[in-house]
């Protein structure tokens, strides 16, 4: 998902017999659906896992602005341009809500940004694919934001208060993103044959990477099992992916587009869509930094941070000068 392969630092799920009194009390609060707040006692592994998860999520929002920002100057109308700018601005906002939530756990903003730029912390694999045509912007809103909603709605109920509250804000805004994407696709699919071909081409390229967003099956993952116990992961990767396919396949049919999977078929017996094998080698290559755009994304982010340094310094100097002047005048 936006946070993929989040490690807990543990080698097995902790059993009740191994827990200290504090840990038992902590788990009891989680089991009773009482939110954990920043100043409450929490196991170190819970704190560290959440920092990793929220941070990855935040970085994904920020890096996720790049593929879409690529089309702001080339949006096909003034209204589409204004809408895309509003969407990209929302993504910045989502990143900021999440950074704030992570900071309540005792990690600094500068540290998180340094870790991203040093490649120590990942962001979602999906943002390492290029946006080649305007139809890619429609597809991202429809599929990528659609997949994000799938993951984020359950997270509104997660055990950590600041993360849950940030997710509530994000979810309120995310639905606009998905609809604006679908609206672009609808317009293209109702347009000329050439426009419809653009839409199909974008779907062909984004479908499999979108399914990869949910991460490999985690049915046997110790980390996912522990995160589930802590209620910072509410549904398994496979459950979320199945929901996504079930929801999206009829939407593609409505658009008159073909999902690029010969094995995709509705299974009457299960009530779900069956689908083909995902190329996990590709996923792992992208995660390791060898996707189509990894280096370009990191270069652009780092450059933006460095280019903004003088603004941050000037604003600090201005604030200090003004505070000093006010202190002098008050004396």
């Amino acid at each position: 998902m936006y946070a993929q392969l989040v490690e807990t630092g543990l080698s097995k799920v902790q059993a009740a017999a191994e827990m200290t009194a504090e840990e038992l009390e902590f788990q009891a609060r989680i089991d009773a659906d009482i939110k954990i707040e920043p100043k409450d006692w929490m196991p170190e592994a819970y704190r560290r896992t959440l920092i990793r998860q929220i941070q990855q999520h935040a970085h994904s929002e920020i890096v996720g602005m790049l593929p879409e920002g690529n089309w702001i100057t080339r949006a096909p109308s003034l209204q589409r341009k204004a809408i895309l700018m509003a969407k990209v601005q929302d993504e910045a906002g989502h990143g900021l809500y999440l950074y704030c939530a992570a900071e309540t756990l005792g990690v600094s903003r500068d540290q998180m940004i340094a870790d991203l730029h040093a490649g120590k912390v990942k962001y979602s694999s999906i943002f390492n694919y290029p946006t080649l045509t305007w139809a890619d912007i429609g597809t991202i809103g429809w599929l990528v934001d659609g997949a994000a909603i799938m993951n984020q709605i359950p997270l509104c109920r997660c055990s950590f208060g600041p993360y849950a509250r940030a997710m509530v804000r994000v979810c309120k805004e995310e639905s606009f993103h998905q609809r604006q994407g679908f609206d672009i696709m609808l317009t293209l699919c109702r347009g000329t044959a050439e426009q419809k071909a653009l839409a199909q081409d974008a779907l062909n390229r984004w479908w499999w990477p979108s399914l990869m967003m949910f991460g490999p099956s985690d049915a046997a993952s110790v980390h996912s099992a522990q995160s589930a116990r802590w209620k910072i992961k509410l549904l398994s990767n496979d459950e979320l992916r199945q929901r996504f396919v079930d929801q999206t396949a009829p939407q593609a049919a409505f658009l008159g587009l073909r999902i690029p999977d010969d094995r995709l078929a509705f299974d009457e017996a299960t009530g779900h869509y069956a689908f083909g094998e995902i190329d996990w080698d590709e996923f792992h290559e992208v995660i390791k930094g060898h996707g189509p755009c990894n280096r370009d994304r990191m270069r652009t982010r780092t450059q933006a941070w460095e280019d903004g340094a003088w603004v941050r310094e000037a604003a600090t100097a201005h604030a200090q000068k003004r505070a000093a002047r006010e202190a002098r005048e008050a004396a």
Binding site: K39, A86, L96, C100, E103, S108, A166, H318, A319
Partner: protein
């Protein structure tokens, strides 16, 4: 350079409710904190008034004091009007 200080943001919505904590952000001073809060927290008419306060200036109860502070209210149910049953015949009370 060390990062900008952290500010807590409070927004009052249109319907006469009190300012409510919505999150935090970094800014060099109060003026910039308010400008940033407008962009980060009120993109969809969420509010008509913004307060910002330096996070370092906020003093809070600690979770360990929860019992001492809040449990005394538990056995004072007579503070709620429903503690006093009223006869059905008695109206407007």
């Amino acid at each position: 350079m060390s990062e900008w200080p952290l500010w807590e943001v409070f927004i009052r919505s249109q319907h006469g409710l009190a300012h409510k904590h919505v999150g935090s952000l970094h800014a060099p001073d109060a003026e910039m904190a308010i400008k940033n809060a407008r962009d980060v927290y009120t993109r969809r008419n969420e509010g008509i008034s913004i307060w910002v306060a330096r996070s370092a200036d906020i003093h809070a109860t600690s979770p360990g004091d929860r019992a001492a502070l809040f449990e005394p209210a538990n056995d004072k149910v007579y503070r709620h009007p429903t503690f006093f049953p009223m006869p059905d015949e008695v109206k407007h009370i």
